[in-house]
């Protein structure tokens, strides 16, 4: 969207050389330093991603974007592996399909992916059957209170899950960790990559891992400043705006009836870009364009949540 100032590098007129690789037998050229995922996109290959974030450093957590690289013993994550001249990449080989199917099945059996965009399409494409691990275990009330090292292995009769109660401890956003795939994007957005508030981290080990505040405190008692930049990057809807959560619960959330308009924040003079999601002439959530270099998809609490003043409307006001 924005192609403005290229920074110091741009002013020095450094032209970036192109690197040519082969994807599924076709040559594609991308700027040096690009990832295989960028090359796949350039070649028109639709690659599933979950933990990849266009504003974040690759975390290699979800393993759903793996591709086969000729000469490499193991599959490689396309979201982080940089292109090198002459690479031969396969995106739809049996090994790749098998790997993606398994990743989707394991995630699907343990996590509620019902609000993950495009998940049904990917499940179908890779013939994934998350139900083959059997019935899902019920809700756990103990995920927040594990002692270090404490772990109770299941007996295999049911599929272990992330299932747990929804956390609603404020009016702005909701944490439904039954939907969490532990991709770390929220942690990175809250931490050193953007917000630097460090309100959340991974607590626990292995399958007992959980995104948590310090001592699992409720958000208003934590270091959270409610910028919602974690919600912005969450790929599964584990973090969602309270407005969206409530409308989904009421059955009134309807993305086909929503418009998205990019405008500028009404608060301080920094000029952050906002995307207003509007349904029935009401703002139902606020996101931000990731490709704008004023705010890179980030906002503060006022920009993200401070819109209520334009819709405390009475019936008299409605047209």
């Amino acid at each position: 969207m924005n192609a403005h100032d290229p920074g110091a590098a741009g002013r020095m007129n450094k032209s970036v050389p192109l690197v040519t690789i082969t994807i599924d037998g076709e040559e594609v050229s991308v700027p040096d330093g690009s990832t295989i995922l960028t090359a796949c996109n350039a070649a028109g290959k639709d690659t599933p991603t979950l933990c990849y974030g266009d504003t974040l450093t690759p975390k290699n957590a979800c393993r759903v974007c793996m591709v086969e690289l000729k000469g490499s013993r193991v599959l490689v994550p396309s979201c982080s592996r940089k292109v090198q001249p002459g690479m031969e990449v396969l995106t739809d080989s049996e090994r790749v399909r098998h790997s993606r199917r398994l990743v989707l099945e394991l995630l699907g059996s343990s996590v509620d992916l019902s609000t993950t965009p495009r998940i049904d399409e990917w499940m179908a494409r890779y013939d994934a059957d998350p139900d083959r691990y059997g019935e899902r275990a019920g809700e756990s009330l103990r995920r927040d209170v594990h002692e270090p090292g404490e772990h109770h292995a299941g007996n295999g009769s049911v599929a272990a899950t992330m299932s747990q109660p929804v956390k609603i401890d404020n009016d702005l956003f909701v944490r439904d960790y039954s939907k969490c795939i532990l991709c770390y994007k929220c942690v990175d957005a809250c931490g050193v990559q953007w917000q630097n508030s460090f309100a959340i981290q991974i607590a626990g080990r292995g399958f007992d891992s959980q995104i948590s505040t310090e001592f699992a405190a409720e958000l208003p008692d934590s270091a959270c400043v409610f910028c919602g930049n974690c919600v912005e990057v969450c790929p599964t809807g584990a973090l969602s705006f309270k407005s969206e959560y409530d409308m989904r619960a009421d059955g009134t959330w309807d993305e086909s009836q929503q418009t998205q308009t990019t405008t500028i924040c009404t608060y301080c003079g920094v000029g952050c870009n906002l995307n207003l999601h509007v349904q029935d002439n009401k703002i139902v959530k606020v996101t931000a364009p990731h490709d704008h270099d004023v705010n890179h998809g980030n906002l503060c609490i006022k920009g993200r949540f401070g819109f209520q003043h334009v819709q405390n409307r009475t019936d008299d006001d409605k047209d």
Partner: protein, 567 residues
């Protein structure tokens, strides 16, 4: 900025990421400009050293390597002390001074009394820290000097700004990538409002009402003769109301009964007017004084147009919602008012009005809606649609060719003057005011949502003063100045030094902070001294006036109902 001849920040946000020294002087950017601070954090993580110059050890100061906790209103003294140290240590940028500046000899003379010891005594900042900042600033490859209202909301705010500009001239920390002066704007379009001529001396595009050539251009375009007289600033209007010359006022999108200093005096003036028109999105407290209220659409989401940000970036504002009831776009309201006054102005789109501006403002000439849309905004000056953008200003000062270099930048010879509202035995404490992360101005907008981290209407007190005055956290105290008195809950803030208090200005319905502040105005910018009030604090058993946040939200709803009936 009279120093450089253009009123805007010299750098882009992106540049602070490449700076090796960042100074936040009277700026709590971490809370007041969180996303600008994201850019600073990038620089900090790359190794930039950070100084915070602020009476409070603010959230921003918590990110600083060194905090200079100066006494309120001693910024000019501190700047002179830094300047003198740079001069005496032989760290001035002689080539830049010779090439680009005027009045250096006078500046040396003005600095001379401000030894580290004298400066330290006047400002309360340890001499060693002053020295350290001076040396680091002079030696930095790329230093960003950022300020906000902590510099400008003083009786001598313009002088404060000049004091900071002097330091940049002394060291050549301006006009290069990464080196600049960055006033971060407090409101979304305060930059754009000024750029568009909402300054009594200006026509749109930095042109002067008093300049016949500039005027002629607008007269040709509009087919009218324009009065050559400058208008009145807000504080001059206040004076004119006191003197009875100004009897009718039309206020658009401003809530002076709560936002201006000494609110009691403001309310009295508005009550005495013959006629008051208020155009706003809510029935604000100011609007309750009006004879006529014109309900307008919210500019940022119910209307089309542009805002200009602190980095001089003009960005498109787009309509996402239909405005409520009979609220109308500001442009349409003004057109209808003109029509009643006998002028048949055409109905124009926001783009058509913008194109009209482009015809008369060279700095905006190249900014078509098409380009603004494609490129996510453009930074002025942008005279030519094919031309490059200007990430930073005043690169010309480094040019050797006098023709390219243009007007030289003068050092400002200014005088250190303490705040007008003096401390004495009766009013021994210094109150400073500001904004918190979750709140904004008079709360008209930010009061609408339930923030989990809102601390509400309270007065922040240092732990030492709380002990001395026998006050516990949460107890009600009465804060009084020479002008007014308010009740507030006491809140302990270890970031405050003894003798210093802080109050947010965002909850005027529960705690009218500006009933305390003083209307001591800067003679040039006419900004009031919100940052320095002499007060006393007393424990009291009186109940607080209203229940905090919920009452605020309910109040807005009530106001809104009334607004609907006005139509």
């Amino acid at each position: 900025m009279t120093v450089f001849g253009a009123g805007g920040g010299t750098s882009s946000y992106r540049e602070i990421e490449d700076a090796d020294l960042i100074i936040f002087w009277g700026s709590n950017a971490r809370e007041a400009h969180p996303i600008f601070f994201h850019h600073a954090l990038k620089g900090i993580h790359k190794g930039a050293k950070v100084y915070a110059v602020d009476p409070r050890r603010s959230k921003t100061a918590e990110w600083a390597d060194t905090w200079l906790g100066l006494d309120v209103g001693t910024d000019i003294a501190l700047a002179y002390g830094i300047g003198r140290e740079i001069i005496h240590a032989g760290l001035v940028n002689e080539a830049f001074i010779a090439n680009a500046t005027l009045g250096f000899e006078d500046y040396i003379a003005a600095c001379e009394p401000w030894t580290l010891d004298v400066t330290s005594r006047e400002t309360g900042v340890p001499a060693e820290l002053i020295r350290e900042l001076a040396h680091d600033y002079a030696k930095a490859k790329r230093a960003q000097l950022c300020w906000t209202l902590g510099i400008t909301e003083h009786h001598n705010g313009t002088d404060n700004v000049r004091a900071l500009c002097n330091l940049a001239l002394l060291t050549g920390q301006v006009g290069r990538w990464g080196a600049g002066l960055v006033p971060v704007r407090g409101q979304n379009n305060v930059q754009g409002g000024g750029d568009m001529g909402a300054i009594p001396k200006n026509l749109p595009g930095f042109q002067d009402v008093g300049n016949p050539e500039h005027r002629a251009k607008f007269e040709r375009l509009w087919g009218v003769t324009m009065p050559p007289k400058y208008g009145l600033t807000l504080s001059e209007m206040m004076e004119a109301m006191d003197e009875g010359h100004l009897t009718s006022v039309y206020i658009v999108g401003e809530n002076p009964v709560q936002s201006d200093a000494d609110t009691t005096a403001v309310a009295r003036r508005l009550r005495n007017l013959d006629h008051l028109v208020v155009q706003d999105i809510f029935l604000t407290k100011t609007a309750t004084f009006a004879d006529v209220v014109l309900p307008s659409a919210a500019a940022w989401c119910e209307s089309e147009g542009t805002f200009t940000s602190s980095e001089r970036r003009v960005q498109l504002v787009r309509k996402a919602l239909e405005p409520p009831g009979s609220a109308k776009d500001d442009v349409e309201i003004i057109r209808l008012v003109a029509q009643r006054l006998g002028h048949d102005w055409p109905i124009q789109t926001a783009e058509e009005i913008w194109d009209e501006l482009r015809e008369v403002s060279p700095a905006h000439h190249g900014m078509s809606y098409r380009l603004l849309n494609e490129r996510g905004g453009l930074q002025w000056p942008f005279p030519d649609e094919d031309g490059p953008e200007s990430p930073f200003l005043h690169g010309r000062l480094w040019e050797k060719d006098p023709a390219k270099r243009g007007r030289l930048a003068p050092f400002g010879i200014i005088e250190h003057k303490l705040p007008v509202d003096k401390l004495n035995d009766e009013f021994p404490l210094r109150l400073t005011t500001g904004r918190r992360l979750t709140d904004y101005n008079t709360g008209v907008q930010s009061g609408g949502f339930n923030s989990p981290i809102r601390v509400g209407a309270c007065v922040d007190i240092s732990p030492e003063d709380m002990v001395r005055l026998g006050i516990n956290e949460g107890e009600t105290v009465r804060v009084s100045s020479r002008r007014g008195s308010v009740l507030a809950a006491a809140r302990r803030d270890p970031g405050l030094r003894p003798g210093l208090l802080f109050m947010a200005c965002n909850f005027p319905d529960e705690m009218d902070t500006n009933a305390l502040t003083i209307e001591a105005n800067d003679p040039i910018a006419k900004t009031a001294e919100f940052k320095a009030t002499a007060v006393k604090v007393e424990k009291t058993n009186e109940p607080l006036p209203e229940e905090g946040i919920m009452a605020d939200a309910a109040d807005h709803e009530r106001q809104h109902k009334e607004l609907a009936t006005v139509n």
